[in-house]
């Protein structure tokens, strides 16, 4: 225990800054949960799969462009931007698909929440399993030879085809902040600020807030609530795509079930900040990322995932409405 404490004290800045970078990714995914919850009061259980598809889009773009360790920095950055766009497109598309197939028919029928949640669990299983069985599905269509670098070993880890070599830029405390840390934190902060302003200032954002406050009055005032729901899913998906790209920059590998743990953590972040609250999602994500790193340093890395769950339990116990309080609708422009 004292060893752990020693380690914690000596690596305090390293733990905190890498925690912030991880937390930024959580926060971006948490946005998807929080927005959908704000508008529909439903936990979009399948959102973790939206993220997972984004990570695969990143891997595949890098594979398609044959980026290797010997590729120049310019190529890597160029392909990275392409991968970002691809991940956003794929995640946004999957989110829209989920909304169309799993949610809309049930919302139209005014099904009880439990039923919708079960449909979302079904959608989540279908999405992650079809990724895990992609080699078999490709074989069905006779494409497994052409696509072998994309579909082989579908149940195993898929990694970026090159190793990222983070370069230290400057030092905080005794930790050298790398370019990747900086990119991850800055990119997600930028996305967050952009989204926050979009929801607060744009006409569509006002529509989203109106539906979150009172769907019935909103539709009486001429807000097309189906459209708002669709846009909400799309935004959540786009953010998950960004998160997926940043995640791949930091972690580098993904798997058909990679969404699960990250999804739970992102949801924890959303609840922690106050579900439905965009700024809360950011705060919750950052707090969770840092707390997790501190926790794993203090009690051992193998307990890292447990820290997040226990934190979720504690928060629900003592402050069920989260750190900043709930409500997407109450955010006034």
């Amino acid at each position: 225990m004292s060893d752990n404490l020693d380690f914690f004290v000596h690596n305090f800045f390293a733990l905190s800054i890498t925690g912030l970078a991880l937390g930024a990714v959580y926060a971006l995914v948490a946005l998807g949960y929080t927005m959908v919850y704000g508008v529909l009061q439903l936990i979009n259980f399948a959102h973790s799969e939206v993220f997972m598809y984004g990570t695969f889009a990143v891997v595949w773009v890098f594979t398609a462009f044959h980026v290797t360790d010997s590729s120049g920095a310019g190529t890597v950055i160029g392909v990275l931007l392409l991968a970002l766009l691809a991940a956003m497109a794929v995640s946004g598309g999957v989110a829209l698909l989920i909304e169309r197939v799993a949610y809309r028919p049930l919302i139209k029928k005014r099904s009880p929440k439990l039923i919708v949640l079960i449909a979302a669990i079904g959608a989540s299983t279908v999405l992650s399993e079809s990724m895990g069985l992609r080699d078999r599905i490709a074989a069905w269509f006779g494409l497994d030879d052409n696509l072998s670098s994309y579909v082989q070993a579908a149940r195993d880890n898929s990694s970026l085809p090159f190793t990222l070599d983070p370069k230290g830029l400057f030092t905080i405390g005794d930790y050298r902040v790398t370019d990747i840390d900086l990119v991850v934190i800055c990119a997600s902060l930028l996305m967050m600020i952009g989204l926050d302003q979009f929801v607060r200032r744009s006409k569509t954002g006002r529509g989203i807030r109106a539906v979150a406050q009172d769907p019935e009055s909103a539709s009486l005032m001429g807000v097309n609530s189906t459209r708002v729901v669709r846009i909400t899913f799309l935004i959540g998906g786009l953010m998950a795509g960004v998160a997926a790209t940043l995640y791949m920059l930091r972690i580098g590998t993904t798997r058909y079930d990679a969404g699960f743990i990250l999804g739970i953590k992102a949801f924890t972040a959303a609840v922690m900040g106050g579900i439905g609250n965009l700024r809360g999602a950011l705060l919750g994500g950052l707090v969770l990322g840092v707390a997790e790193n501190w926790g794993s340093a203090l009690i051992g890395t193998q307990w890292k995932d447990v820290v997040a769950f226990v934190l979720l339990l504690v928060i629900l116990l003592f402050r069920p409405s989260g750190l900043l309080g709930e409500a997407l609708g109450k955010a006034r422009a």
């Binding site: 439990l114 079960i118 079904g122 959608a123 299983t125 629900l316």
Partner: protein
């Protein structure tokens, strides 16, 4: 279905007893088509009965009390690990002494989880229980005291009757083999009556089937009682129930504890049948399968839930070529069910009655709006 409900009580009981006897005899009869050609049919039946038992327990939580528990495998694991720890790892208690202890430990874990979480909003519960299932799995993976990732091996079988390692049992029952559609008595395969061994899974099946029937009777009695009605009220409208004087929190906790009871029971039996458990035996996937079985079968109806459990266990074993695809198939089935038949294959009777009432209300409201 309605015709079965309209029968008078003695006929129903006789029919049920005949059905139960048939189910007991299934592994001996090896009915053609139903039997699994590739693997031991008794073992498959054991798994079916175990899933049916779990589904019955989860049905109390999801179907009766309306609480979505996505971490049920956690209870299953607690039951199994208690047996493992007390029979081999840190003690050598006999199985039938460990069984009640395992159940009590699991119930306590259910209460510990339930007290903080049942106060939070219903839809958070799903995530919290999901986390619980993972915490249990991670905890046993990282704790040397329960064997960490190696798990626990050589968990003993229940004692045979008469006792002894080489017991020949009280008597032997031959199986039936089907040759070209003709039933033949197969004297090479006999089940020694109540010898629990590695070779013959049939006695294990009988044991869990007996537990299943006892639980079924208990479930029937509880559902009919004040408790069952309180659950129903809580599920339909928690605030209204609270106003009517139903202590909803207490009843939700009771449902949680009873669900844990049954989960622990089946987990304990799973452990003694498998004789080896490790963290990989309790993946999150299993929780999802359990939920799928209750929802597909018909949440709120004990027969529906059991049917769901049996289907979820049986289909992948019968059609082994497809076993890789089963999660995908269940996912699609879940989505399709919520749209086409949200009440499940065998919906609870109450739903139909409620539906009629709802229809009447709709009609009345319709008239009002016309007037």
């Amino acid at each position: 279905m309605t015709r079965i409900q309209n029968l008078n009580k003695p006929t129903k009981i006789v029919l049920l007893v005949i059905a139960a006897l048939f189910v007991y005899a299934l592994p001996l009869l090896n009915p053609p088509f139903l039997s699994t050609p590739d693997i031991d049919f008794g073992g498959v039946l054991f798994t079916c009965a175990a899933y049916a038992l779990v589904a019955l327990g989860l049905n109390i939580v999801i179907g009766y009390a309306g609480l979505l528990d996505l971490g049920y495998v956690g209870f299953y694991a607690v039951g199994a690990y208690t047996v493992g720890v007390l029979t081999v790892y840190h003690g050598s208690w006999p199985f039938f002494l460990v069984l009640p202890v395992a159940i009590v430990v699991t119930m306590i874990s259910g209460v510990i989880l339930g007290v903080p979480t049942l106060r939070v909003r219903g839809d958070y519960l799903a995530i919290v229980t999901l986390g619980f299932g993972e915490i249990i799995r991670l905890a046993v993976t990282n704790t040397d005291w329960v064997g960490a990732s190696r798990g626990i091996s050589n968990i003993p079988s229940p004692p045979s009757i008469p006792p002894g390692d080489n017991s020949d049992g009280l008597f032997e029952i031959p199986h039936i083999a089907w040759v070209n559609g003709q039933p033949l008595i197969d004297l090479d395969h006999k089940t020694k009556f109540l010898v629990f061994g590695v070779l013959d899974t049939v006695p294990f099946y009988w044991m869990i089937l007996t537990a299943l029937i006892l639980v079924l009777i208990g479930d029937y009695l509880v559902k009919r009682s004040r408790v069952g009605r309180a659950w129903e009220a809580t599920r339909e409208d928690e605030d209204a129930a609270e106003l009517m004087g139903v202590p909803t929190f207490k009843f939700k906790l009771l449902a949680f504890a009873l669900g844990a009871f049954i989960g622990g029971l089946s987990g304990a039996m799973f452990a003694t049948r498998q004789s080896h458990i490790d963290p990989i035996s309790f993946p999150l996937l299993l929780s999802m399968l359990f939920v799928a079985s209750v929802v597909i079968g018909g949440s709120g109806n004990r027969w529906g839930a059991m049917l769901g459990g049996v289907l979820v266990a049986y289909l992948p074993e019968r059609f082994r070529d497809f076993s890789d695809w089963r999660m995908l198939v269940f996912g699609i089935a879940l989505m399709a069910m919520t749209i086409l038949r949200p009440q499940g294959l065998i919906p609870p009777i109450r739903t139909r009655r409620a539906k009629r009432a709802q229809q009447e209300i709709a009609e009345l409201e319709g008239e009002e709006s016309v007037a």
